[in-house]
Structures are given as structure tokens and as C-alpha cells.
């Protein structure tokens, strides 16, 4: 087994160098995919036969929601790595990804609310998915506030890792319970559209947007991780050389 790659991953300097090479590509590809996808979705995709043009919000709402949820899972995976292998880079990832996850959860909730107004008639519905997303936003807030409350960097990243893991154990339970609660309190459920599958002209732009948002997320996470590394490693020689040079 070659473990060199794995050990290299733990080195902040190695990550800093490598991410510097990939970063411009991710930014360019991410932004261009997002622009292409939203223009495609806004202008060229056919309108929904029930919801008309308001369904075009889907091209923003669904990618943001997917990213918001998977961001927490990524954080949980790196929390495990951080606690088991004590890898510095995993801590840096959690610190950098949490605010982004909160931002995209907010975007998903906001677009969901705006989409709800024309389709359901209200801005907010205590629907299972919306409520679960709201709880996810609270979880992100908890992670961010624990992180900022503890000043010692090492302690704060370990504490955050534990909290993220506790949260990820709870997420399935919360999701399941919210769904149960929803069927109890709300017999008349709102369904988005009751039609078969989406036509390709509709879902291809959606796919483009999802890939674009992941590229964008990777780029921004790398940017944030690089900042975090600079701050954490400011006493090392390579950072000092970089700053002065």
C-alpha cells in the first residue's frame, strides 16, 4: 500500500501548493457552468405546464439544497478523519465549509419560500422538507458559533468535530421525525407537481447547475482553506517567505 498520498494530504503546505494550481480552473468552470445553466434554465427550458414560469426557480433551489445537505456530510466525514487520524487539513475543511453550508442552506430556504408563494399561496409551509432544512440551518449555526466561541484553534476544531459527528447521527432521526410529524399535522400535503419524470430539456440545465455549484463550492472552500492555513501556519518559514515574497 502506498500511503504517501494520504500523508501528503495532511500537510498544509502541500495542499496550499496543489490548490493554488487547481483553483483558477474550478473558479472558471464553476462560474461558467452556473451562467450557462441559469441562462439555459431561464430562457430555453420549456415552461412547466402547471406552474408556468415560476418553476424556473428550481434551477437555483435544488442545487443549493443538494449542496447544503452534502456539505454537512462532507464536514462529518472530515470530522471523523480529524478525530481518528488527527489530520490538520480536516479541521481546516470543517472551519472553512461551515459558513458556506449555512449560506447555501439559507439560499435554499429563501428560494423555497419565494417559490412557495406562487405555487402554494404562502411564503412558508411547515412542510417536512422545509422544516428539516430549517433545522439543518440551526445545526450549521451551532457549529459556527461553537467554532468562534472557543479561541484556542486546536481545541475549537476538535470540539467542532465532535459536535458535527453528534449532529450527523441526529440528522436521520430528525428527518424521519419531521416527516412523521408532518403527516400527522398536515393531512393535505402539498406536492410540487404530480407528473411523470422531467423532460430532458428541463433536467439537463438542472444537472449543469448542480455540477456548476459543486465546482463553485470547491473553489470557494479552497480559497477559505488557504486563508485558514495562512493564519494557522503564520509562524512557519514557508508562510513567512510567501508573505514577504
Amino acid at each position: 500500500m502506498k500511503w504517501i498520498f494520504f500523508h501528503k494530504l495532511g500537510s498544509p503546505k502541500w495542499f496550499f501548493d496543489i490548490s493554488g494550481k487547481f483553483l483558477p480552473w474550478f473558479i472558471v468552470i464553476g462560474i461558467s457552468l452556473l451562467v450557462i445553466g441559469s441562462i439555459w434554465g431561464l430562457i430555453f427550458a420549456p415552461k412547466d405546464y402547471q406552474q408556468g414560469d415560476s418553476f424556473r426557480i428550481i434551477y437555483l433551489h435544488v442545487p443549493a439544497a443538494i449542496l447544503a445537505q452534502s456539505c454537512y456530510l462532507m464536514m462529518a466525514a472530515s470530522a471523523l478523519v480529524s478525530l481518528v487520524w488527527k489530520m490538520k487539513l480536516a479541521d481546516v475543511f470543517i472551519t472553512s465549509a461551515a459558513p458556506l453550508g449555512a449560506l447555501f442552506t439559507f439560499l435554499a430556504l429563501f428560494t423555497g419560500a419565494v417559490w412557495g408563494k406562487p405555487t402554494w399561496g404562502t411564503w412558508w409551509v411547515w412542510d417536512a422538507r422545509l422544516t428539516a432544512m430549517l433545522v439543518l440551518l440551526f445545526l450549521y449555526f451551532g457549529v459556527i458559533s461553537l467554532q468562534t466561541a472557543i479561541e484556542d484553534t486546536l481545541l475549537s476544531s476538535k470540539a467542532t468535530a465532535i459536535l458535527v459527528l453528534v449532529g450527523v447521527v441526529n440528522i436521520p432521526i430528525i428527518k424521519y421525525s419531521v416527516e412523521w410529524w408532518n403527516t400527522l399535522h398536515q393531512p393535505a400535503t402539498f406536492k410540487l407537481t404530480e407528473k411523470p419524470a422531467m423532460v430532458p430539456e428541463m433536467w439537463i440545465p438542472l444537472l449543469v447547475m448542480v455540477i456548476g455549484i459543486y465546482c463553485f463550492f470547491s473553489a470557494v472552500v479552497m480559497l477559505r482553506m488557504r486563508n485558514e492555513i495562512l493564519m494557522r501556519e503564520r509562524k512557519t518559514k514557508w508562510v513567512q517567505r510567501l508573505v514577504s515574497g
Partner: protein, 232 residues
């Protein structure tokens, strides 16, 4: 020396943790009474703020009692580890040869008998003030008996993570409250089902599962967090 250490076995350590906890509580009685008063005030504020109409109140009573119980148990989390952290006894517990998991479990259980039980004892009184039907009181009590330990166990994780902070105040609630949502949902659901005349078995099965999960998993996270907080 080694004989001495072996003589203090696990049961004795747990017993001492227990006794110490009760002794500490008897010296700071106010810290355990305040959350109860807070609980009563929340319940009293609700009819004043919304409506004193008996029909409406009996509909809302379960939810109000449960939300009040949740919030007031957040208040008592602060004095769970704080004193032990400040006088260094938490460090001794971490260094002791006995499993921290069991010590934490005992500590949390004692804490529950001091905060959760009184809450459960006064809740029928408050529920009746909100016009909850007598027939459904046992169900409410049973949900509280099964639900408040879960809240304490999850709260213990939050308290352990923030024990090294000077002012943890709202932070603990922020960390813990989202995680207690399932308990709230299934507890109020059980009472609602009993009011609707439906079977409550399913709800109690799930509450039992949550309790078992919390007992088995939460002390692990708590002791990991305690070790972390003490190490710095």
C-alpha cells in the same frame, strides 16, 4: 500503592461520584430551583400572551408544557460540569482508572434526578392549569419520564463541549435545542394521539428507542468532549 488503587473499585467510584453530586447540589439549592420557577413562569405567560380560552389552551397545553420543559432544562445545563471544572475534580475523574463513560452516565443520571424529576413532579399541576384533560395526564407524564433523560443526555454533550468557556450561556441552548426536536415531536405526538383516541404504543416504542440510543451513545460523546476540554 497499587493495592490501594485496586481497592477502590468501580462501584465505589461511582458511589462517590453520586454522593459528591448530591452534596454539591444541596449546597447550591437555588441553582436547581430557578429552572423550575422559570418553567412555571413560561406556562403562566402563555395564556396571558395568547388567549385564556379553555378550548384553545387545552389544545395547546401539551406543546406548551413540553417546550417549557425543554427550555428550563437548558437552564440547568450550566451547572452540570462548571463547578467540577473550576475546582479541578473533573480532571481527576478523567485521570482516574475507571471508565469515564460510566462516570459520565452516573453523573448525568444524578443530574436528571435533580432537574428532570422535579420538573416531572410539578408538570401535572401546570398541565391542569392549561386545561389538559385528566385522562391524558398519565401519557404526558410518561412522555416526560422517557423524554427528559434524553434531553439531559444530549444536553450533557453541549455542556461538556462548552465547559472551558467563561460564558457559555446561550451557546449551549443553540447547540442542543435543534438536536432535541425528535423528542419533542414524538412526545407531543403521543399525547395528541391519546387525545384523538388513537394507540400510543408506536410513539412510546420510538421514545424508548431514542432513550436507549441516547444512553448508549451520548456518554461517549460527552466523555470525549470532557477529555478535550480538560486537556487544555
Amino acid at each position: 500503592m497499587t493495592d490501594m488503587q485496586q481497592n477502590i473499585n468501580l462501584i465505589q467510584v461511582l458511589k462517590r461520584v453520586c454522593v459528591r453530586e448530591y452534596l454539591g447540589a444541596s449546597r447550591h439549592r437555588q441553582a436547581f430551583i430557578n429552572p423550575l420557577v422559570f418553567f412555571a413562569i413560561i406556562i403562566a405567560l402563555f395564556p396571558l400572551g395568547v388567549s385564556p380560552d379553555p378550548k384553545f389552551l387545552s389544545l395547546a397545553s401539551v406543546g406548551v408544557v413540553w417546550v417549557g420543559a425543554l427550555l428550563s432544562s437548558m437552564l440547568s445545563l450550566d451547572n452540570l460540569f462548571m463547578k467540577d471544572y473550576e475546582d479541578g475534580s473533573l480532571e481527576q475523574l478523567v485521570l482516574s482508572a475507571q471508565p469515564l463513560y460510566l462516570i459520565m452516565l452516573v453523573k448525568l443520571f444524578v443530574h436528571w434526578t435533580l432537574t428532570g424529576l422535579p420538573l416531572i413532579i410539578i408538570s401535572p399541576l401546570l398541565a391542569v392549569m392549561l386545561y389538559l384533560d385528566f385522562d391524558h395526564l398519565p401519557v404526558l407524564l410518561l412522555t416526560l419520564i422517557m423524554g427528559t433523560p434524553v434531553i439531559n443526555l444530549i444536553g450533557g454533550i453541549g455542556a461538556a463541549l462548552t465547559v472551558s468557556l467563561r460564558s457559555s450561556g446561550v451557546l449551549v441552548s443553540l447547540l442542543v435545542l435543534p438536536l432535541t426536536i425528535p423528542v419533542l415531536i414524538f412526545s407531543t405526538g403521543a399525547v395528541q394521539a391519546s387525545i384523538d383516541g388513537a394507540s400510543v404504543n408506536g410513539y412510546f416504542a420510538i421514545l424508548g428507542m431514542l432513550l436507549m440510543l441516547a444512553i448508549t451513545l451520548a456518554p461517549f460523546a460527552t466523555s470525549a468532549a470532557i477529555k478535550l476540554s480538560v486537556s487544555n
